[in-house]
Amino acid sequence: MGELWFAFALLLFAMAALWQAYGISGFSGLTSAGVFPMLAAVTMVVAALSILAATLRRPVEENASVRRFVAQVLPARLIAFLALVVGFLVIMPWAGFMPSAAVFLFTATALLWRRGVIAPTLVTATAMVLIWLTFRLAFQIILPRGVLFPSLF
């Protein structure tokens, strides 16, 4: 059931992409900016139709239901982890990369690993020190800074 919905969603996306590609320059010329995007979008629509047809031809799974789809494809743990990732990305512009990454790493490892507090704390501290040394000092990569500690992180 989930595969059918995914194939249908891809078809809708492909059609929307074709509409957007047409909107770039329409059929104004063979070398206009929209020609290649339109060719790519048409390929997507044709491929999505073919995938949808093939999926529809297949026999429907027994016991197919929304609950089963959620349990198999989007289990609660995955949704909770994605929520943590989104939270990490949302607080990063405010707190900066280092503090938000440390909070994310600690929370995620503590929840997933279930080894108390000391092990996740050690893992987080080691990982953050290594990340700082490798990326900031060795590779001189600028890490996202926040507004909370603008001079530090």
Binding site: Q20, A21, G29, T43, F139
Partner: protein, 500 residues
Amino acid sequence: MPDAVANFLIAWLDPWLLLLTGLGTLAGVYVGAIPGLSVTMAASILISFTFKWDVNDALALMTGVFVGGVYGGARTAILLNIPGAPSAIATALDGYPLAKKGLAGEAIGLTTLMSVMGGLIGIVALALFAPPLSSLALMFQSRDYLLLGLIGILLVGTLSGDFAKGAFAGALGVLIGMVGLDPMTAEGRFTFGTITLMGGIHYVVAMIGFFGVAEALMQMRDIDLPAVRQRVSRVVPPWADVKRYFALALRSSGIGAVIGALPGTGGDIAALLAYDQAKRSTKDPQTPFGEGAKEGLVAPEAANNAAVGGAFIPMLTLGIPGDAVTAVIIGALFIHGLKPGPLLLSDTPHLFWFMVGSLTLANVFLLIFGLTGIRIFAKIVECPKAVLVPLIIVLSVVGAYAIQNNPADIYWMLAFGVVGYFMKYYSYPVAPVILGVILGPMMDANYRRAMIGARNDPLTFLADFITHPISLVLSVAFLLMLISQTPLWPGRRKREAEAE
């Protein structure tokens, strides 16, 4: 000739250059292996603090990073199923199944040997065939580059076995590659009027999302399973394997050197072409392709390392970069007052032979570093998934941000990761997406140049594909590949009948 030998040996005899080449290779192996860190990025950063150095010192370090980085991508492809670089996409297809069978050490050992062999063959090609190959590359027209791009995406799309899913993924990649301002007319494409999207979406961001984040999310499904313990008991591959795959490695290295020499095509296309060639030419593999065939490991690794030497051919003789890293190295040469191009070989032959020597030395270091330290590296994957998965996310965030220092790239990475998760779950190949993002802009530009060359006449445009020898060969190859995916192809009909 004695001058050439003397210049070739400079990097070998000077202890400082020896150290720099060794350090560069070691750093390259680890930079290439860390998902999200690209060799291009490392080479670009190196330029920023080597521009005051002596040209030989800077080039020794950078060639080491280049050679090590192309190889390093294979390590995470084998151990984690996350290619460290686009050139290692094909390596993951059979490398990871081998690791799951407990043959990670042997797979890495075989990869190292074949990479060094490919690398050395690429250097021989650079030294011997630079002038004729570069003159052939000079004859390539825009339509030929368009065909090369289409063949590349078609090849990787068909590797999954489901052509429609592969085609969708490839086209999706091309579409992502189109986002931003059109380089010819400055019209916005899929920008929705926002400034953030006008600069486009970097292919590394898509790569990290579709490979790194999607893989991390897939791992979340069975996080309680014990960590993959890759057995790294034997690193040096059996002599029988080396003998068995020697001919295949030679053929793949030849493909890699030629593809690498074509401007704009690098190790990624070379590896995929070599993989496809190995799949077609190996009649009776010991293990089926995609399930841990050693042929599927030997071919792409020999080819992508041979492409390094090949990529230097158009760079040094024509001033045209063979791939992204050689484009950065061209920048380094310009910073040091040198002008890569036809005059470089006649005006500064010592530099050409120095680079040949430096590349050879880097391959020797690759053999040393490739066969050692694997057990320490493999410990990374013994780390519990509950620790590894959040760490991959944090590294992916750093990698995505470091490319352009743009916070929006991080959000794109996450979005691609979620889409990639569903694609992986429903058996859509994600490699064509990445290839589409990389090759899409090149194909678009070459399609338009070819059409302008045909004076906007579709009939002349199509006629050009069959009236020029190089275009005709490529067109026939493209059509044959396309037909091979339809029931019209006898072999396919038989396979489908067998499947039923």
